[in-house]
């Protein structure tokens, strides 16, 4: 599994609920869609469930 660090939600451009997570994947700025069929999202959810990763709120929330 890649390394996921510095995770936070990203709001929609019109202030909608976040549909993306900003996270560094192996140190590279990345944006993971909150989609069940996305492998990175699956991995992130496992890490969150195991208490190994916390996703910060979106900026301005």
């Amino acid at each position: 599994m890649p390394q996921y660090t510095n995770a936070k939600y990203v709001s929609g451009i019109f202030g909608q609920e976040p549909s993306t997570i900003q996270v560094d994947i192996n140190g590279v700025l990345s944006f993971v869609p909150m989609a069940d069929d996305n492998t990175d999202y699956q991995n992130i959810m496992i890490l969150v469930a195991e208490g190994k990763l916390v996703i910060a709120p979106a900026d301005g929330t």
């Binding site: 390394q3 990203v10 451009i13 590279v28 990345s30 069929d37 996305n38 492998t39 990175d40 699956q42």
Partner: protein
Amino acid sequence: MPTLPISIPYTFAASTTSIPLSYLDSNFSTLTTALNGIGSGTTPLTSVTITGGTITGVSGVPTLDANNNLSIAGVVQMGSSFLRNRIINGAMAIDQRNAGAAQTITTAAAAYTVDRWLASCTGANVTGQRVAGSGSTQYRYQFTGAASVTAINFTQRIEQLNSYDLAGSTITISVDLANSLLTSVSWALSYANSADTFTSTTAISSGTFTVSSTVTRYNVQVLLPAAATTGLQLQLSVGAQTSGTWTIGNVQVEAGTIATPFERRPQGQEFLLCQRYYEQDLLTNGPAGYVAFSWNGITTNGALYFGTRPFQVAKRASPTVLILNNYRVGFNTPAINTTSISSFMASAIANTGGDSAFGFTWSASAEL
């Protein structure tokens, strides 16, 4: 019905007594029955050699000429399809991420190498690289070992949509392998525990190929369980590759029990197949001018500006988008706000106002 060779019941040569004519009838009857059986197909011919000449007046039989060219009047109905290789980029030719450059595989995290192939290692980092092949094979993939390495894995995951039909049937795995240090390469086949989710898998079968330093083609047949409908994972592995090289090429997974020759798809077609899972745009315009995605205009300080970018090929799933390098004049760091299988939307907040721009190079991954 008699079987071949035919055995005649009675012999007449060297006879010293009178023989009933019914014996002669019995001999003729045996021959007649056998010949009629051959004509009707009820007496099986197990091996027929035809030297010269041609077969004529027979329908439903293909012809094979002296140059081994096969001709058939109708269509060929196969148990599999012509596009039979379920592995994508089995020839290792597509290398979007590294363009043939060497890549360090670290023990910390698995990494994609040539397109669709995931590498990992334990014990110590290793180097992987697309290398020149030999003969009619242009490329292969090669790992270079290092001290303290305890294992290297090279994996491809086949999505559910491309493997569902294989469940409950026998498949054949073929691969070119060589190793300058080790004499065995392990293979393992498993299926995802839920559709296209390989965070946990169920083992199907595994084994070992005995290899040498000479590239040799190997194959193995595997009966898939009926439950293997959720996507397949093929993993090739070696142990303590503490030096030397491990070479892999022309990987094929196909329906059926026969290892057919490696299927070479056109490069354009193979590239599109790869882009279903990974795509990148590295366009730059001068030093630090990362403009693969770019926005330019007159801005108001503090306002949000955005744009969308379609993908070349629709993705398997909404992909993860990486901002590889970015370029900003009067903007904060850009972000990806939303992604679909066909495009992404990026935005940035102006931090000065006036003539401003932002851009970045990016990749999108929907790998399994």
